[in-house]
Symmetry: D2
Subunit: 342 residues, 4 copies
């Protein structure tokens, strides 16, 4: 739309789009309003729109990701969960165990990561495991324990949902829903969380291209849930010394293409606690809006992902050691990255 287009003009265009059986997606940026036309061969209705008042121009979007792309939403998306801002210039940290294993384990970890400065508590209640013979999570009881930990510490919680029929229950407990890497293209699950009014963190699939990842986000966005967070957690390559190859290239690429916030998970991204701190710092330097780190009271006894979990003291070290210089670095750097990206 033209700068200064009225609400009325915007509405009329949106109506016209819907009268033609397409979906209108209105996005108001600071300087301009963009209306997306969603549907197969949307370009065909161009002639029915171009003469409407307030229309500045009609741009065919060749990128297949529409709602997640910057074309219609040039400014960064930011969400607020409690006091914490997701997206923008600050960096938030999610920490906690891979899986909720017991009340003791979860409470101890929740208090430890809270006092070290984390913003969110993670913990898996439903666990997708490669083998059917390994620990599959505590299920609903795990959700209750997470709620208890939130009540105790004030930390908002994030947990994975694996099946469409669990979305309602998980959405009732969790502050942020997580879609795991294996489910990145589980479209029924994506549609389901697309109808929830809470942020969804979508992990990149093990062999998903950046385009496929943004298209998976598109499934959620297209159902009306615009609070999507992307999470880079490593891709599968030939290298065997690390569990995965953390693809930090994806951070500036995604920030250029999309307005959605990006989180980096150096725990899965490396597979070893010894490399988590270095890659957490690198993730932030690359421009990530947040970090997700696995922390466990006693990694050698963890039911899952022990080798990549930090002990409390190492998490404290990660959070505390170089806060001031890193913060300045991030601020200076964030400015540059932003300037380059747009």
């Amino acid at each position: 739309m033209q700068q200064g287009a009225t609400e009325e003009q915007v509405d009329r265009v949106a109506h016209q789009i819907e009268a033609l059986n397409f979906k209108a997606h209105i996005s108001k940026g600071e300087t301009a309003t963009v209306i997306g036309v969603i549907g197969p061969n949307a370009i065909e209705i161009k002639d029915s729109l171009v003469h409407l008042e307030g229309v500045a121009q009609i741009i065919p979007i060749t990128r297949p990701f529409k709602l997640s792309g910057r074309e219609w939403h040039p400014d960064d998306s930011t969400y607020r969960v409690g006091d914490v801002q997701i997206g923008g210039d600050s960096v938030f940290v999610i920490a906690g165990p891979c899986a909720v294993e017991s009340r003791e384990q979860l409470m101890a970890t929740a208090h430890a990561v809270k006092s070290a400065g984390a913003h969110f508590l993670r913990g898996g209640a439903f666990k997708p495991r490669t083998s059917p013979y390994t620990f599959q999570g505590m299920g609903l009881h795990g959700l209750k324990l997470l709620e208890e930990a939130r009540a105790d510490t004030g930390l908002a919680i994030i947990t994975e949902v694996m099946a469409p029929h669990d979305v309602e229950a998980v959405a009732e407990s969790a502050d942020i829903l997580q879609i795991g890497a294996r489910n990145m293209q589980n479209y029924n699950l994506l549609y389901e969380v697309g109808q929830v009014h809470k942020p969804v963190m979508l992990k990149r699939g093990l062999s998903a291209t950046i385009e496929e990842w943004l298209l998976a986000a598109e499934y959620i966005l297209s159902r009306g849930n615009y609070q999507v967070i992307l999470c880079e957690r490593g891709i599968r390559t030939f290298e065997t010394m690390t569990r995965n190859t953390l693809d930090l290239n994806a951070v500036p690429v995604v920030r250029e293409l999309s307005h959605l916030p990006v989180v980096v998970d150096p725990s899965h991204g490396t597979g070893s606690w010894r490399w988590v701190e270095a890659m957490a710092c690198a993730g932030v330097a690359a421009g990530a809006h947040g970090l997700m780190v696995e922390v466990h009271p006693n990694p050698s006894e963890a039911y899952s992902d022990g080798p990549q979990s930090l002990k409390f003291e190492n998490f404290e070290k990660l959070m505390g050691s170089d806060v001031e210089p890193r913060k300045k670095f991030i601020q200076a750097h964030a400015k540059n990255v932003r300037n380059l990206d747009i």
Copy 2:
């Protein structure tokens, strides 16, 4: 169990296993009966079993795939669908369009592949698509058309199921259920088809290792559905000239490790109809029990996968041209492969 162990002895061992809260899986081969003990740390109950009558030896299975492995089931699994045998020495062919698009398209294809010699009709009613803005399949109406095509041609049908809540409906229509590559680790879906009494064809994930693939099969088997068929359809690599890299190595490897039948899909495995025939032949030569090939009346107008679909005449050519020598080749070769494998 010892050779010549009685039914009674087998039952007593199975009872003892279950009394200890493990699951017993009895597998009767031609020469020996093997009882699998399934559950975490199963080896711990060794001492409670070793002295029972008829027990020959207790072998800790280090391979994480138990029910799909050859240790407990040394002979090839074979299933029967109508008149067609799946597994063993013969080769069966599944053919049809990527997606059911209309009655005309489906019926024309069904008759064409039937007369060319195919054994099963494929056709997607529910389509997993990378983008939410592309054709998502005809859904239940597609299932009805598939039933109609079966009634018309006598071909049994195979179709994909994407969501746990669709399993019942799909299982009522289809003769074989297909789990797509993107859903290979959708564990709730695997559990659901694990309770169906029809064969399930499990496609290998785009970046799934052979071990993960067999473990995904294990999810289905462990729920009691032993009729699993594996399907190699290409993995994701750096090569861009082909849509995927068909990993035929997987055929002899899986045949060595597992008793489950293996199908090769040269359509997805190459991404171009021009290379389908060569790779179909190669798949059979590598030891595949079956082929799955996409066929469409007019590939250039297909809603999906047109470039990799064969026209009727090319499918006929694939089926007809060298039947006799190929059959002898397969028979001679199948014998060798079998001898080497075991």
Copy 3:
């Protein structure tokens, strides 16, 4: 050139091309003569050629591989080494140890593979090894032993050359020179073998795309050695159960794009002797012109590649078991592949 263009006309066009500082490459097929113009921005001299007598049309070649592509050389290339034809419809087999280790080892193997029906003897004298602390080959003495084996058995020999300064010595001994996977983009070495008057077998690099592989061939061809053989030996992927992923897709793709013969190496392609036979058969079925198989008198004591080497008896089995049906299969199949390809 037009059909029926005279030698004189062809020469005049070639002269004109070279007068303009480009290189002319004349290729005479059965039905047409094609003259390639090689050099940067060759298309710019179009206007200086189009009016010459006998010129039918000028086709800009967008494919970056010119000499290896089918555009200028539509018919399959075939070479003759002794009595053996390389390329075309027959299938030739190269067999022998990974490395020449001793006279006894080499002679025993040479006689065994000869009597089983192999056409060429392979054996490494210069060995590229990942670690500097492992066996690096016998060098010149290894070449002498290969010559001796040839004298004894009549088998022509193929061996790897690793360094530009060894090309002369190796070319004096060997009938075919091999460029290993690690050296596929060692351009100085490629230029050197490009000046030799013997066939060169170029193995595909571990992570080389098909395009890069053909461009590496182009380095050899562009120096005047047109006898290049391509060898698919597996690419590097995430799968760890096999040493490499044998990319048989590459066989029909390369046969479509290029006139050069293609060999498949199932030994490196799988990394285990147990899967060599299956993948050898699959390679032939995919359309390979030849096979290269590692054979060793006592694989468990081999200095290198023992796990993937066949014992004599297994090589005999591979060669002998199903010769007649396979031959018919190949002939029937070769016809189809050819028809599809062009």
Copy 4:
């Protein structure tokens, strides 16, 4: 050796090792002297050494990289080129064009990167190009221009050497020799630069594992040139939106395993100038000792790698914008990484 072992004792052990036809490699750290025994099955001479005076213990090195590993050389290696330290806590920056194209281009770039704060000038005189039909570099004349640029600006120079027979000439001109990714396993070339008395920067191969990369370094070290610098420049994966996938995981992994300095190349690692700054910062945050960045006066007219080259102003921005906070960040971070690593 025991703490406090005398020079004499060390010499005696070294002599004994060499008397047994192995190679002794003496490494003096701050707190201990370690003597490496190099050769096949070195562990077999254990009994001939264990009783010598001053020997503390004999550790079988299972890691196949000996000279590059931390076992024998626990402290970081540092080299000095002119006034610049390579390795340790400071970060050095190499900048310049992909290829030397002309005197004007090189001199302009040399002065620009010098004034922006770079420590070394890069520029290719010999270029490994995928296609034989593209610009192959200026060769010896390029070397002369690099020498001239050094004389003009005082910047030390680094340039690639591609062929064993060029090593002498390149070593005479350059301050640091570069081995390109394609040549990482060109063993003859590695041996040749192993005899030069100048630092060698070894780029990681496109599909080289970290272990293979360190073993390639081992080839150079084992010939007596201990001044090896590693360079991570991106690996080949399925992702196509970036030219390569910069594997920053490799930085902390290599720093843990090896004492050799590591450089990150975000230009090749991403393939686009737009992502170079973010990944340069991320590389430093991950613990890299240096950066290598492509800079060109006019990227759109570069003969090679234009899309990934920074303009002068963007390079200045990368160097200048956040120097102070980044420096503090690096120092604080470097301390942590070091503490974790050892």
